[in-house]
């Protein structure tokens, strides 16, 4: 990362606030420093505390200087129309996830019966909550995560958003979160969905490779967000013939082949990974129902931009939609 000019720090102090130089190394530009400082001030001013306001702001800025994600300091992250609570130990919802999930909901046909939705590796629960808030109809939704911290936070998020009336009261019954290990052999039998009846399966699993974690991640991510949610455990890859960062997709596709959901959306790290996952879908033995429906979505899947890339195994082509980095792999059962 290029060094910031000392003049920039002087400018920050002069133009924005004496606190601004603390935030500058993390924010990198004066504009975003001003924005973050404003958000911190708003947060401190809106919370009751025994700590004097100025001190509160200073403390928050000191935390932010160390690289602690702003969402952990402020305790929340807006996600679509929702307000998602964030706590250390659980992955912070990303705007790209918001984009692709919002796009997914625009593709759903209206159904009068409740949609059955399963979200694996749910973390804060942001994906199922967003789907539930954007769908006009009710749903029967289950979020699964291995981390007890994540499960308790996702339940908190559910009640928090109901109390803010971002979600209807009925959501407290229709949305549930359970702690479970998706790799355990008994996982599939523990699910309340029978094969073929699931409408949507989503997942934002850990997808960063161990090397990529050391090289490509931001400091605040590397030091302060849970590695459990970012990098697949090396031991998990033993039974699978794939790269270590793709292990979750291999397992997710096993689950797909059993549950046969109507629509599936996985978040991925980049176009290369998306291509590998698409190849796995095309190659998969029990996934014939999904052949030819695979799409790769970029960060902004809306819009006209489209291109086609060919897969390596059999020269089949898949469509890449939107702008930005490769972000999602979407496929649907051919009979729906």
């Amino acid at each position: 990362m290029p060094r910031l000019a000392p003049s920039l720090f002087r400018q920050a102090r002069k133009q924005i606030s004496p606190f601004a130089p603390l935030l500058l190394p993390v924010c990198r530009t004066l504009d975003s420093t001003a924005n973050e400082l404003r958000w911190i001030k708003e947060h401190v001013n809106s919370t009751d505390s025994l700590v004097p306001r100025k001190l509160g702001i200073w403390q928050a800025c000191l935390k932010r200087e160390k690289g602690i994600p702003l969402q952990y300091i402020l305790g929340n992250q807006p996600f679509g129309p929702l307000d998602i609570l964030c706590k250390p130990g659980v992955l912070i919802p990303r705007p790209e996830t918001e984009s692709i999930i919002t796009h997914l909901t625009t593709l759903l046909p209206f159904s009068s019966s409740p949609l059955k939705i399963l979200d694996l590796c749910t973390g804060t629960g942001c994906i199922p909550l967003l789907i539930a808030s954007l769908l006009p109809s009710t749903s029967q939704t289950l979020g699964v995560d291995i981390s007890p911290l994540a499960i308790s936070l996702s339940r908190q998020n559910l009640s928090h958003n109901i109390s803010l009336s971002h979600l209807p009261l009925s959501a407290s019954k229709s949305i549930t979160f359970t702690k479970s290990d998706i790799f355990s052999p008994s996982f599939l039998s523990s699910l309340p969905f029978s094969p073929g009846e699931l409408d949507i399966l989503t997942s934002n699993p850990p997808y960063i490779s161990p090397a990529g974690f050391n090289k490509n991640t931001e400091r605040s991510v590397r030091f302060y967000e849970p590695k459990l949610a970012l990098v697949p455990d090396v031991n998990l890859g033993k039974g699978y013939d794939c790269l270590p960062e793709d292990v979750f997709y291999a397992r997710l596709l096993e689950i797909v082949s059993v549950l046969q959901p109507k629509r599936v959306l996985f978040e991925v790290g980049d176009v290369e990974q998306a291509r590998r996952v698409a190849e796995m879908v095309v190659r998969g033995g029990e996934l014939k129902n999904y052949a030819g429906t695979v799409e790769i979505w970029r960060d902004d899947p809306e819009g006209e931009e489209k291109e086609r890339i060919s897969l390596r195994n059999n020269g089949e082509e898949v469509e890449v939609k939107g702008r930005g980095n490769g972000r999602g792999v979407y496929f649907w059962r051919k009979d729906c």
Partner: protein, 431 residues
């Protein structure tokens, strides 16, 4: 031997040359259905085009042709219905002349129904054909200003103002007197309790009022013996009437309904390019950006809005849309006000306040009101000045005239466009 003792030879010749009697007959037959000939010509032309297009579509489907065919379909349909009704009316008229009494009776029975059908189809046709004025749906302001000359014009201005006020009251239009400035100098009273008026503005708050009163704009001439005149000579003076679309209320009311394409705040989402401004490189779980800035570009106008104030991408997007909407609405309103200003100066600039370009004459001596454009004479002037049905008749006649004018302008425009399309090379060189 001619019946008249002497007729100018050139007059006789000119009568023969234009086929006066024939033209008169054709006009008379169409006028009875209140359709101007230009309108009928255009309908005939479009129907021919529609038939041609559908024939083309039967051979091979083309999206452009299909679109155009869809546009003229309504007109062709209405015209065919109209022609059908006219043909059956002609047939019935033939039957009426037949010798068989029973046949005549039958025809008589059907005649009323057919006439009704014809009236309806002609109404449909004229609605389908007439181009809509861009301000047609708006409320309007009627400004009455006396022309040059003495107090007589001022007195009559008051009469005109009261005439419109009464007319609106009779029609049930909501009105508001925006301004009523009496000339303070004289203090004398005209006939019928008229006060000398300097300027008066009446707002008609009904939607579509502009379309209704548009034809009233112009110079209104009065010929009468003024109440102040002692020797009993008839004076001629004039009053200028301006009709302007009224925006103010409309603009604030439409703030909420930006889904309505008529509204200033409406934006076609297809015309907006939306971008998320974020750094290149890995995203998703790799980074944790706190900002989610949105930039919207309205392609037709090039207006760009970017928003990054909120942490929520959702809110930023909503705010950006709101800002873009209000900026575009502002621009549109400015353009429209500019157009209205141009309209105002074209209708009547103060230099043009002469008695020459009169549109209507109120002649007290002959108890007559004449509209010079529609070529209509009505009597019962007191009823006109009371804003009664007689004035309604005049206004309706003006509507017909305006519609014909609009159609002619449209035809001229289309011809010009066709000529330009046929000779694109020339057009380029010309520029």
């Amino acid at each position: 031997m001619l019946a008249a003792p002497w007729v100018c030879r050139s007059c006789v010749r000119s009568l023969r040359r234009i086929g006066f009697s024939q033209q008169f007959l054709r006009r008379a037959s169409t006028d009875s259905f209140k359709l101007p000939p230009a309108l009928l010509d255009r309908a005939r032309f479009l129907t021919a085009e529609h038939d041609q297009l559908t024939a083309q579509l039967a051979d091979n489907f083309d999206e452009k042709i299909a679109k155009r065919a869809g546009e003229v379909h309504r007109i062709a349909e209405a015209f065919k219905k109209f022609e059908h009704a006219k043909a059956s009316l002609r047939e019935l008229e033939g039957l009426l002349k037949s010798d068989d009494a029973e046949m005549r009776e039958m025809a008589q029975e059907d005649l009323a129904a057919t006439n009704e059908q014809l009236a309806e189809s002609s109404r449909n046709l004229s609605v389908a054909l007439t181009p809509k004025h861009p301000f047609a749906d708006m409320p309007c302001l009627i400004e009455v200003v006396p022309g040059p000359g003495g107090t007589e014009g001022r007195f009559f201005a008051d009469s005109v103002f009261k005439m419109y006020q009464a007319y609106c009251a009779n029609k049930g239009f909501r009105t508001k007197v925006v301004q009523y400035l009496a000339a303070d100098s004289t203090g004398e009273k005209g006939g019928d309790g008229e006060t000398a008026l300097q300027e008066a503005v009446l707002e008609v708050m009904e939607e579509g009022a502009y379309a209704h009163f548009r034809g009233e704009a112009g110079m209104h001439r009065v010929q009468r013996v003024p109440a102040t005149e002692k020797s009993g000579r008839t004076h001629t003076s004039a009053v200028a009437v301006w009709v302007l679309p009224s925006f103010a209320e409309n603009a604030t009311a439409s703030d909420g309904d930006w889904d309505n394409p008529e509204s200033d705040f409406y934006i076609d989402p297809a015309e907006v390019k939306s971008e998320k401004m974020r750094a290149s490189g890995a995203g998703g779980q790799h980074v944790n950006k706190t900002e989610s800035a949105i930039r919207l570009t309205h392609i037709p106008t090039g207006i760009t809005v970017s928003m990054q104030d909120s942490r929520s991408q959702h809110t930023n997007r909503a705010d950006a849309w709101r800002l873009l909407r209000s900026r575009i609405a502002q621009k549109r309103r400015e353009a429209r006000e500019e157009a209205a200003r141009a309209l105002r100066s074209s209708v009547l600039s103060s230099a043009q306040l002469t008695r020459g370009d009169k549109i209507r004459t109120y002649n007290y001596g002959q108890d007559r009101c004449t509209d010079h454009r529609a070529g209509l004479d009505v009597h019962n002037l007191p009823d006109v000045l009371r804003g009664g049905d007689t004035l309604g008749k005049v206004i309706d006649a003006v509507h017909g005239w305006l519609a014909e004018k609009d159609i002619q302008a449209l035809l001229a425009d289309e011809e010009a466009a066709a000529a330009a399309a046929n000779a694109p090379g020339k057009g380029k060189k010309g520029k």
